[in-house]
């Protein structure tokens, strides 16, 4: 009797495992087919017009750089404190506006303005963290709602302070030139390369900080087991505060970089909050490498679909946002926690 029941149960389990396997493999096949079609289409169109392809490809990589800088701050804060900072987009725009104030109104050189705006936003982030988030630790949803409230207030105050019209900050004169690439006669704007360099620099610096310094060690330990770290006599609150400041400063930094290619106006905060969300949902919350991969995927889909969704006479570029959605859907279908996500 018992043996019989066991075999039935075992059979059910086997069946379920097989079903799960089939499901997983169908998902993988679908992803490879869709991804392959997308890449094939890009390659096909790319061969038609290599100059355009090269420019769009470079756009994708430099955009990925910007996405990475924004999302790295977001994912750093989440990874350590499990705080979803819904005001991250507001910090991004605030950083941009502040650096613009210093360069335009006070005539400061841009590196100084950048440093001040990063410091200002970092301190503001510290205030938010200490005043609202420190004593609500562990209540993830409540913290998300708190940061949403802050983003509403910030968006409105920025509208009051800086107006609702688009402000183009322009590019620093020293960076503003074209780089000849010697491929198909393409030359490319240096400020965009600069964004990419900065993103790589931020990525390497964060990697070194997290992997090869004592504090990085504490942060990584804190990600795994917060209580144990504080039980070992480490002041985890100090680590939280510093990480929150760094994450906020990264948002401000990205806001400054964004000014090279775009204008500041209300709505940019939302757009970049959405970008950060998608990047970390794809890459996995709290993972730096995931943020890099996610940023690259999102930027490739964004850049190429804006140009290459034209089939003969039918222009589908209006629907490019749906491809972003599909990207999200496919990643979540295979890995609900993102490509590099780990369960908490």
């Amino acid at each position: 009797m018992v043996e019989h029941a066991d075999t039935a149960a075992v059979r059910t389990v086997r069946l379920q495992t097989a079903q799960a396997l089939v499901g997983r493999w169908t998902a993988r096949v679908v992803i490879f087919v869709v991804g392959g079609l997308f890449l094939g289409w890009i390659a096909f169109k790319g061969a038609e017009n290599p100059r355009l392809f090269l420019t769009v490809g470079l756009n994708a990589f430099t955009l990925a750089g910007l996405y990475f800088v924004v999302a790295s701050g977001f994912t750093l804060i989440f990874g350590l404190m499990r705080v979803v900072n819904m005001a991250h987009g507001s910090f991004f725009l605030l950083g941009g506006y502040i650096s613009l104030q210093f360069t335009r109104e006070l005539g400061w050189p841009w590196p100084a303005a950048l440093a001040v705006s990063c410091a200002w936003v970092a301190l503001f982030g510290l205030f938010i963290q200490q005043a609202f988030l420190r004593w609500t630790q562990g209540q993830e949803l409540r913290q998300a709602l708190i940061t949403i409230a802050i983003s509403i207030i910030l968006a409105d105050q920025m509208l009051r302070e800086f107006g609702g019209t688009a402000v183009d900050p322009g590019r620093p004169a020293i960076l503003d030139y074209q780089v000849p690439l010697h491929f198909f006669g393409v030359s490319y704007a240096f400020p965009r390369f600069f964004i990419l360099f900065m993103a790589v620099g931020v990525g390497l610096a964060l990697y070194f900080w997290l992997r090869h310094t004592r504090m990085g060690m504490v942060i990584r330990a804190g990600v795994d087991d917060r209580q144990m770290v504080s039980a070992l006599g480490i002041n985890i609150q100090l680590v939280f505060a510093i990480a929150f400041m760094v994450g906020s400063a990264l948002a401000a930094f990205a806001g400054f970089l964004y000014g090279f290619t775009g204008s500041y106006l209300p709505g940019v905060d939302t757009a970049f909050l959405l970008n950060s969300l998608i990047v970390v949902i794809i890459g996995g919350m709290g993972s730096l490498g995931g943020a890099a991969i996610g940023a690259l995927l999102l930027a490739v889909v964004d850049s190429f679909s804006d140009v290459y969704l034209i089939f003969g006479d039918t222009n589908w570029t209006n629907y490019s946002i749906l491809l972003t959605f599909l990207l999200l859907v496919f990643v979540l279908a295979v890995r609900p926690l993102g490509l590099f996500g780990r369960p908490s």
């Binding site: 499990r82 979803v84 819904m86 609202f132 562990g138 209540q139 993830e140 949803l141 409540r142 998300a144 709602l145 708190i146 949403i148 409230a149 802050i150 509403i152 207030i153 968006a155 409105d156 105050q157 009051r160 939302t270 959405l274 969300l277 998608i278 970390v280 949902i281 919350m285 209006n318 629907y319 490019s320 946002i321 749906l322 972003t324 959605f325 999200l328 859907v329 979540l332 279908a333 609900p336 926690l337």
Partner: protein, 343 residues
């Protein structure tokens, strides 16, 4: 307690039904009717949050899906050139919204807690960008002069009809949601909210329950979307942008994320603040700062929203009056805002 609750419910219904007799057209249209459809959007959020443990920010997007679908199907300026009869158009719009909700729910169903919040926010903003960019369906200018059933008449000059229609529809949907929460499905959904692991072990399909709940909530949000286009006769992507998404969240949180009635308490508080604080000198055009501050205070002080504050005050008064021991059964504990779906 229960009898008193029903009494209060009936009394407020009677007051609402008599409202058109003694309030002005502006108050009726800009406050009460708006509060009704806004509350209906919030209701779909409260249903998901309170009974499914899913705080969804996609509800306004689904509201928009229904609204835009309806606007494109009937006679209107902008959008696709079709001229359906409003009634089948409304039904198709509800079906489309529910179907989109089921698809989104299927994508998000394996996530919980803040992951769910983030994914649904991404959905909501993607829906906004979609309608903003696709000129064939809407574009920046939106769809104007949307045709309505004859019974709605002209909401601007004759606000009574749309008010009564909204009131009746909202009442029916509210009772439907209330009923659904008591069906075996609703009870299982609450089980999924409290302990998905145990429900799975008991043989329930956790994801399927979440998806079905999401689809049902999409239907509720869709009804609100139809009422909205009847009321405003126009819709544009600004109606489903991040501001609108957050407004719905604010309404739900102000009212109390875990009580269905709270949706309308929050909605009325919201429209009153919206309409009467702009004249105050210190608020002026900075209405959003005020609403953000109110939202912040509510989240910090009373996770149960205004209804939570009311419950605290009521219990306090009862304790003082009844000497502590004489009071009725102890009030149910307000669920903590951090509780659902932190797996």
């Amino acid at each position: 307690m229960r009898a008193r609750g029903i009494g209060a419910f009936v009394a407020s219904l009677v007051v609402l039904a008599l409202c058109p007799l003694f309030v002005g057209d502006f108050f009726l249209s800009a406050l009460l009717t708006q509060a009704i459809w806004l509350g209906l959007v919030a209701l779909s959020l409260v249903f998901l949050a309170g009974f499914g443990g899913m705080v969804s920010l996609a509800q306004v997007g689904l509201f928009g899906v229904a609204g835009f679908t309806y606007a494109n199907l009937v006679l209107a300026d902008g959008g696709v050139e079709t001229a359906w009869n409003p009634w089948p158009a409304a039904i198709v719009a509800l079906i489309v919204a529910t179907a989109v909700g089921l698809v989104l729910g299927a994508v998000a169903s394996r996530s919980t807690g803040i992951y769910f919040l983030m994914i649904t926010l991404a959905f909501g903003v993607i829906i906004q960008f979609f309608f903003e960019k696709v000129n064939q369906l809407s574009g920046f200018g939106g769809v104007n002069g949307i045709d309505r059933p004859d019974i709605v008449s002209a909401p601007r000059t004759d606000p009574d009809n749309i008010y009564y229609i909204s009131l009746v529809v909202a009442l029916v949907v509210f009772l439907l949601v209330k009923y659904v929460t008591r069906t075996p499905f609703g009870v299982a959904l609450q089980g999924v909210r409290d302990d998905p692991m145990r429900m799975r072990a008991l043989g329930y399909n956790v994801e399927l329950h979440r998806i079905a709940a999401f689809g049902f909530a999409a239907f509720v949000a869709g009804v609100a979307g139809i009422l909205f286009v009847w009321w405003s006769t126009r819709i544009d992507p600004g109606n489903v942008n991040i501001g609108a998404i957050l407004d719905a969240l604010v309404v739900a949180v102000i009212g109390g994320l875990f009580r269905l009635e709270g949706a309308w308490v929050g909605a009325i508080a919201f429209v009153v603040l919206d309409n009467y604080t702009r004249d105050l000198g210190f608020v002026g055009p900075q209405f959003n700062t005020l609403i953000g501050l109110v939202f912040l205070v509510i989240v910090l002080l009373s996770p149960g929203g205004l209804l939570g504050i009311w419950a605290i005050v009521r219990d306090y008064v009862r304790r003082r009056a009844g000497g502590g021991s004489a009071g009725g059964p102890p009030a149910p504990a307000e669920p903590s805002i951090a509780e659902p779906g932190t797996s």
